[in-house]
């Protein structure tokens, strides 16, 4: 288990959203304010760590034929726990994220990591993996939220700063409201991934240059 390596992977080379292109439903749907992005990112990270740990601990006990069904049940359990906790202690966030909280069950990232990592590695490594992938996911979400909120509503920190209103950066009437609508979601993600691919290609070319 190499924390630095796993973090590097989670953020860059194996970023669940930007590199692996998983969990896109939530990335497109809820990234309209910083509050949503951080809240969802935190929720998914917690679920990733918990489910990775439990599945890793049980990996030798769960028969292979039913492993996917078993993983789904375990993940659904943790998702429900987070759902109930949010409803009880952070009702505004629960309302804002709506049906996308229970939909974390079918978020390909969580099931994907369970199958690709937790089922084959130790408990501590799996916990770290959950954390790093979760961080990568949250970073991608935050980037999307900041861009869409800024260009779409003209504010920064919606739901969190300035008593929920967010700090107004672009005067009212100017922002392109399409950005917080579906079309904006697709376009923003397209450009962000393009930018990310450009970045990683540059980094890879640089490494190859240095190796020479």
């Amino acid at each position: 288990m190499n924390f630095k390596k796993q973090l590097h992977e989670g953020l860059l080379t194996k970023n669940p959203v930007l590199a692996q292109l998983l969990g896109l439903c939530s990335v497109l749907a809820i990234t309209t304010s910083l509050f949503n992005g951080l809240g969802m990112g935190l929720s998914v990270t917690i679920i990733l760590i918990c489910s990775n740990v439990l599945i890793s601990a049980l990996r030798k006990v769960i028969p292979s034929q039913i492993r996917i069904a078993a993983y789904i049940v375990i993940i659904a359990g943790f998702v429900t726990v987070v759902d109930l906790m949010l409803q009880a202690f952070l009702p505004e966030l629960a309302e804002s994220l709506g049906v996308f909280i229970p939909l974390i069950v079918v978020n390909c990232i969580v099931l994907g990591r369970a199958e690709a990592f937790a089922s084959k590695n130790g408990v501590l490594a799996s916990a770290v993996d959950g954390l790093c992938q979760g961080i990568g996911y949250t970073v991608a979400l935050v980037i999307m939220c900041v861009i869409r909120e800024l260009l779409g509503a003209g504010t920064f920190g919606g739901g969190l700063l300035n008593g929920g209103e967010g700090i107004r950066i672009i005067p009212e009437g100017y922002p392109a409201m399409q950005m917080v609508m579906p079309v904006g979601g697709f376009l923003t993600l397209g450009f962000v991934i393009a930018g990310f691919q450009y970045l990683t290609t540059r980094m890879r070319d640089k490494k190859m240059e240095e190796a020479k």
């Binding site: 429900t80 069950v105 609508m181 397209g190 393009a194 691919q197």
Partner: protein, 197 residues
């Protein structure tokens, strides 16, 4: 027209157009991106998803109304629904393998992946959230599937041309696909003025 029938029509039209499951509500994105390169595969996938969604809506509604609510197990919704959906997909898989092997082969890995399609679980949850009765739930599920099919078939025809065109290196693959999807979403925005009912 009778008020109830009118509301059914309303649900049908809104799930397909004004609140299209992929392009407006963002359900079902993963398969949307992955499958839609050829029109006939897209159509087959769409039909399979529509069938699963209608069946899942019916089954989940029944489980919620007949088992979960009476026993006060509302909090088990997520777990119960996803198990129901996984079972339905498994059964559909076995059925297709025996009866329509060509489609089974063409869909490949995307068939079991219908289980993790946000649209299927999403519509089941939305049905109980909006407290729809049985018929409304099934219509919503089927209509959502039809909207999904419409979106991926449209998208497949767009992608067939995009894949043959020149494209800057950073944009190849998902980025240009997403931008194309965005333009399609923008087109669907035109439906939002549609007054239903």
């Amino acid at each position: 027209m009778d008020g109830y029938l009118q509301s059914l029509l309303g649900i049908l039209l809104s799930a397909i157009l004004t609140e299209n499951f992929i392009l407006v509500k963002f359900y079902g994105i993963c398969p949307f991106m992955g499958v839609s390169k050829k029109i006939d595969t897209a159509l087959g996938m769409g039909m399979a998803v529509t069938f699963v969604m209608a069946l899942a809506s019916a089954a989940c509604w029944a489980v919620d109304a007949l088992v979960l609510q009476p026993l006060g197990l509302g909090y088990m919704q997520t777990v119960a629904f996803i198990l129901v959906i996984a079972s339905i997909v498994q059964v559909v898989e076995m059925f297709l393998k025996k009866s329509v092997p060509a489609l089974y082969k063409a869909l490949g890995i995307f068939l079991p992946l219908i289980t993790t399609n946000c649209a299927v679980l999403g519509v089941a949850l939305v049905n109980v959230q909006k407290q729809y009765d049985f018929l409304r739930s099934v219509i919503n599920g089927a209509a959502g599937g039809l909207g999904f099919t419409l979106a991926i078939v449209l998208f497949a025809s767009v992608r067939e041309r995009v894949d043959k065109a020149d494209c800057p290196e950073s944009f190849r693959g998902y980025p240009i696909t997403l931008i194309a999807a965005g333009l399609l979403a923008m087109a669907f925005m035109g439906f939002s003025g549609l007054k239903i009912g």
